[in-house]
Amino acid sequence: ADPKGSFFSDPSSQGDGLRSCLVTGNHGSECFFVSGFPGRYTPGPKKSSSTIDSHGRGFYDFSLSIPFPSPLEAEIACRSLDPDPEPRRSGVQRELTVIGNKLVLHWRAEEARFFRASITTFLDYLALVLQTMERFGPPEPH
């Protein structure tokens, strides 16, 4: 089934619809887990929703917040992940911000496949940053 179709046609299934298109294609599956520093990190609250803009177009929205041991580490992760832009023709808007010791991520896209690809790819790089910090950190005081 077209995840975008079911996503918009049945408001009650929105949450499940989004999660299923992100992860496995099965309704009701759990959202992904970001691997990090065992014991020190827990995945932040996840929020997803759909939005209709003024032209009546639908968007997929997804937010994720990752806590770090300190604001410096959150900043390092942000500056390591932000420089590589999304492919332009994918139409994915990605936003990274640091609030306190949290890295706050937000995605917005029109097409489900680009939306899903962008998030899963990004999470692979995020996991790599966390592993790098674990093996070669903690950061020298700047």
């Binding site: 500056r79 420089p83 590589d84």
Partner: protein, 335 residues
């Protein structure tokens, strides 16, 4: 005397190298291998790189006997290359640069090959033939640029060889080009193939289509052996490369040739180039597989030159780019 750590991962090799004032202190490398008949795809290659980049970094530091505090600068490949593998390596370079509070330098992969070749061979101002799986260029230095005299107008010579190897299901271990080279030594018969030099440029895609079609037909009819095809393909494409290199030398009045890039460790190419150089009274410089094939030290070496002449890359400007021409870089470290 700065010590520079370099990360390379623009194709199916990943390497981390450490260079200090012309000495290579460590240069470990891993290659992502796929089964015969298949090539490497960006997503799978990136996954391979992410899985081993941190082990390689640890290995390089241990081998060099250095602590992060002994490193002065972090260099990484900005491009050209495959997007996902480039990002996978750049992300680690940016993270350690910030963790250790070191400056970052973004390096052009092609310039990395040239600087490594110059360092290892001691060539002063050579005409450079840069031949690999992704690039085929004849380059000459002038006025702070590595200028491209001639190049492929379609696929790279290494890509032509790799894809031919897939047709014959030749192993990718250690590399398809190496295995073609070994088989070519047993070739007896020269199968005539298209010879496509266009002025200063070369084309390989037509040769590839031709030999892909001819291979099945001729092998089925017992008209030639796989070894004959390997031999014929090498002779044809290397002759084309020698021709455009010689023409560039004549244009520049150059008496030195430097071969760099993964295809550059092919001994038959070096032999043919050597014959041409001998006839012109010129000198040939080439390196072995440790430095010809993509490696971290070459990025560290180009990074060392850039760092010494005052280059630093801001994190916000450190995004990778799949297209990045050799002549886009201002060579501030040469006269």
């Amino acid at each position: 005397m700065p010590t520079v750590l370099g990360f390379e991962g623009s194709a199916n090799k990943i390497g981390v190298g450490i260079v200090r004032d012309g000495a290579v202190l460590a240069n470990p490398r891993r290659t992502y291998l796929t089964p015969p008949g298949t090539g490497f795809l960006p997503g799978d290659t990136a996954r391979h790189h992410r899985a081993c980049v941190l082990d390689l970094l640890h290995e390089a530091l241990t081998e060099a006997g250095l602590d992060p505090k002994n490193i002065d600068c972090i260099a990484f490949t900005k491009g050209p290359g495959m997007g996902a593998p480039l990002v996978s390596v750049a992300v680690v370079a940016r993270t350690v640069a910030q963790l250790w509070n070191k400056p970052l330098v973004a390096v052009n992969h092609c310039v990395g090959h040239i600087e490594m070749g110059r360092l290892i061979t001691g060539a002063i101002s050579p005409t450079v033939l840069y031949v690999s799986g992704g690039n085929t260029q004849v380059i000459s230095y002038s006025e702070h640029r590595y200028r491209i005299f001639g190049e492929t107008i379609d696929v790279a010579v290494g890509n032509c060889l790799d894809r031919f190897a897939r047709v014959l299901k030749i192993s990718n271990d250690p590399s398809p080009g190496y295995n073609i080279e070994q088989m070519a030594k047993r070739g007896q018969k020269l199968v005539e193939l298209p010879y496509t030099v266009k002025g200063m440029d070369v084309s390989f895609s037509g040769i590839l289509s031709y030999i892909e079609e001819a291979a099945h037909r001729m092998l089925a009819a017992n008209e030639c052996t796989p070894e004959d095809l390997c031999f014929s393909l090498q002779e044809t494409v290397f002759a084309m490369l020698v021709e455009i290199t010689e023409r560039a030398m004549a244009h520049c009045g150059s008496q030195e040739v430097l071969i760099v890039g993964g295809v550059g460790c092919n001994m038959r190419l070096q032999e043919m180039m050597g014959t041409m150089c001998e006839e012109r009274g010129a000198k040939l410089f080439a390196t072995d597989e440790r430095f010809c094939i993509d490696n971290g030290a070459m990025i560290a070496q180009a990074g060392w030159e850039m760092f010494q002449s005052g280059h630093k890359t801001a994190l916000s400007d450190s995004g990778v780019t799949q297209r990045y021409r050799t002549d886009e870089v201002e060579v501030t470290w040469r006269n």
